[in-house]
Assembly symmetry: C2
Homo-oligomer: 330 residues x 2
Amino acid sequence: MKSSEQIFIEFYEKERKALDIKFKKVFKEKKPASLYEPSAYIIENGGKRLRPILVLLSCMAAGGDKNKAVNAAIAVEILHNFTLVHDDIMDNAPKRRGLPTLHNKYDLSTAILAGDNLIAFAYQYLLKDCLDNDKQVIATFTKGIVEICEGQSLDKVFEVKKDVTIEEYMLMIKKKTAALIEICCSIGAQIAKGEKKDIANLSKFGLYLGLAFQIQDDLLDIFGNEKEFGKTVGGDLIEGKKTYLFIKAFEKAKGKDKQKLESVIKNKGVAKEDVPSYKELYIKLGVIDEANKEIVKYTSKALNSIKSLKNSEAIELLNSLANSLIKRNK
Amino acid sequence: MKSSEQIFIEFYEKERKALDIKFKKVFKEKKPASLYEPSAYIIENGGKRLRPILVLLSCMAAGGDKNKAVNAAIAVEILHNFTLVHDDIMDNAPKRRGLPTLHNKYDLSTAILAGDNLIAFAYQYLLKDCLDNDKQVIATFTKGIVEICEGQSLDKVFEVKKDVTIEEYMLMIKKKTAALIEICCSIGAQIAKGEKKDIANLSKFGLYLGLAFQIQDDLLDIFGNEKEFGKTVGGDLIEGKKTYLFIKAFEKAKGKDKQKLESVIKNKGVAKEDVPSYKELYIKLGVIDEANKEIVKYTSKALNSIKSLKNSEAIELLNSLANSLIKRNK
């Protein structure tokens, strides 16, 4: 008999491949090439496809046919890619998924414009899967975009703000990262025409999963392997981002350690060669353990939210997915 | 008795003032301030409010109650402002409506993000006025955004393309400028639940009006008064834009005149102090007259499209509006 992990991996790989084929078609032969070649570049260059698969699984979990949510799944991935393109500009990120970022490969105007157009394309795909509950689905989606922008704005403000608390950080990642994962689950359940409480529970699952996901991302930024992670290791420190690790470390540090962290704020980031010394400091201050504990806590909260759903196959798959995210290295 | 021009001016001013009050509330007290202060800055800083008023007038013209289209009117103005914010980044524009552009007053990240969020806010307002024909209205709106992005992409490509034809230019302005004016008219008529042919005729009106509007804008860029126009005079030439005037002049010029125009392409623009000499060249080559003829031609086409509509009051107002645009100086 197959283990539930095996079943999950097979399900995920099958859906991911099917989605990848669809992503190759989204911008195919569209004109002008000046807009659609870069769009294809970003959407076809891999990624985990976590968000669209969450739409499909949430649709199943709420009692729906996942095939009816495929366009909505494509929509959330397009939207996610919009956030990557524009965030990479704002973060001066040179690489994404091991390849040059869009503004780096093309130019600033192309990246701004391709990102804008991705938003509209996301709506076009979403509209394909809306039935008689369009308005609710589109409103959820739209509210998500507003939250993402608010979260990104807070993230930028925090880069130059001295005293960011963990509460402020949690609000920021709730908006910047968790909101999109939440809408994936909510929209999947809405398209399934799930019961109100099931939609609410799946939304909560997405929210908690998103919080765990972002804290894990903060860890991977500094502890990930550059090749697997595909981004510059320590990019958050280089950009002076107030991550979970930084804020916790800043709370706990004293004396010279505190000064070392204060210099990050003062200099709005660190040089690439200084990243390893901050990694050591984080370990010494015990903030890695704390981050791991938070990841486990929010993952448990996520899983508790979907216990009562009826579709046991989908619950099992969502369980495996949540656990696989804890172990991820990219 | 009041002239139809007086009636139009009074109608326009009344609606513009009512809209301005509403625009002041859109982002009021919203947080984070880092996102919403810049949003308020751009939406509150005037502008003609042409597009929202077209939504209201089209709603009336198709037999609807304009009060039911107010949120849709707000939506198109928010969307319009998104295009201004992002285009100004791409065009390196220092001023807009006589004030610093958003990226100039704040920074690049803020301008990108505020623009993104404006798109989502536009959808939020649009959703407020959608009844049981949401899907059609939202699809029209979304298709418009795609066209705007495609048009802007063509505009950027044309900056470095040597041989842009008038046909290519017309396709570009149809997408970049006319598409939004077209959706204003289409959405207004759709919200009115107008007859299919009335929606189509009003859309056509918007399209032709948009073409006339953009050619007029090309003229104003170089013949406008900086104070009234609010933008840097000659900005299109400085940025090396392929405007109607430039393309026509390039077609007609010979010898030294041709070389002068070729140098704009070669140098990707001209210095500010050289703008007056190009103005003279345009006059000498007769392209100003040609542009004015095109403006009159498309305005007539626009007005012919709405002759058969039933609401004579709205037709009269749309007539006056179209004629006022020909005479505008900003």
